[in-house]
Symmetry: C2
Subunit: 190 residues, 2 copies
DNA sequence: GTCTATACCTTGATAGAC
DNA sequence: GTCTATCAAGGTATAGAC
């Protein structure tokens, strides 16, 4: 490490996940990263600027993780199930999805990476489903866009319920339900 | 109106929905309700106290709305679809679900009404599904608890996506997908 | 690039008059 | 019950030395 730039981003990643944008102060970030006021405002114009840059990093990390899990070969159905069943920190929630209800989402710079994330997930799943359909590997009555969006929404909703009830069992039930639904709605062609 | 108590609650309902707990200040509530500091702290011990009491009101309202929509007679499948297709203010989100990512959720008094809401929805849907199963009206391979939780989570997730993308089309796609899945997974027995 | 000191505003709450 | 005045603490940002 040559500058405090990365330490500050690292601290912001932790605090934004834990507390969200509104409840995270520049001071708290400075303390966690052992950086002074000077370093903070030398590297980042404002709190919003730091948050936006932090979210870009977080989104790129999560996209890489998704590609790792979803990208491996195998039947589409298995790939979607792997994504649904990926282990998650239920009580903390989605590092990206939780930002949606923060005032952060009102700012273009903060919203852009968040949108990039969901758009990526959607495109990848839709593409995989359409390819399998074209290849005659699967059959389904539901449009790929709807299946993909539903899968993403299930996870976000499952995390919301798990956190609301302070009980991962609610998350698990939702995910199990989603897996079962995907299973019954995507039919292998032989 | 004889006291400002209700005006303050009313203002809190608006601001908590719009901005969440962290981003809503006692002062903003006072201004919106035309109440002074004195009235505010006469009727409510703290900001947290007001928020808890406001959420109790909001939850009771939403539960009544749900009972209205879901409670009417008809096949379970139709009742669930009515709930899914109930019109919603997509960009503002769920008045209750959005609180889950606020620091509010850490406080017992605030969490309690939120949990009451999701618990009510779940119990009602599970009961309706089990009754229909027992009566031999429907058949399904997925446990009622999973179907119910999935339905609730779909809506929460759909709202998260709609808001993240700033585009109700994402909400609509999710809901359409959920309706289609419910449709294909709950089979009428004749 | 990093630090400390400082400034200014908002927040959440209290005091006390009416 | 309602109001205005006030306060300590923290939030966000700037200044200027090193």
């Amino acid at each position: 490490m040559t500058t405090k730039h990365d330490d500050i981003i690292e601290a912001a990643k932790i605090l934004l996940w834990e507390k969200g944008y509104d409840a995270t102060s520049p001071r708290a970030i400075q303390e966690l990263s052992n950086a002074g006021q000077g370093s903070f405002y030398h590297h980042f114009k404002t709190k919003k600027d730091l948050a936006a840059k932090t979210m870009e990093v977080v989104v790129d990390e999560r996209i890489a993780e998704f590609d790792e899990i979803f990208g491996e070969s195998g039947p589409v159905k298995e790939r979607i199930k792997r994504f649904l069943l990926e282990p998650r920190d239920v009580l903390k929630g989605c590092r990206i999805g939780r930002m949606v209800w923060d005032s952060a989402i009102g700012e273009d710079d903060l919203r852009r990476p968040i949108q990039k994330f969901f758009q990526h997930l959607q495109s990848q799943m839709v593409a995989a489903l359409e390819q399998a359909l074209a290849a005659g590997e699967i059959e389904t009555d539901i449009p790929p866009e709807q299946i993909a969006t539903m899968v993403i929404a299930s996870i976000q909703g499952a995390l919301t319920l798990g956190r609301a009830m302070q009980d991962p069992a609610w998350y698990d039930r939702t995910i199990q339900g989603a897996v079962a639904l995907v299973d019954s709605v995507i039919k292998p062609c032989r």
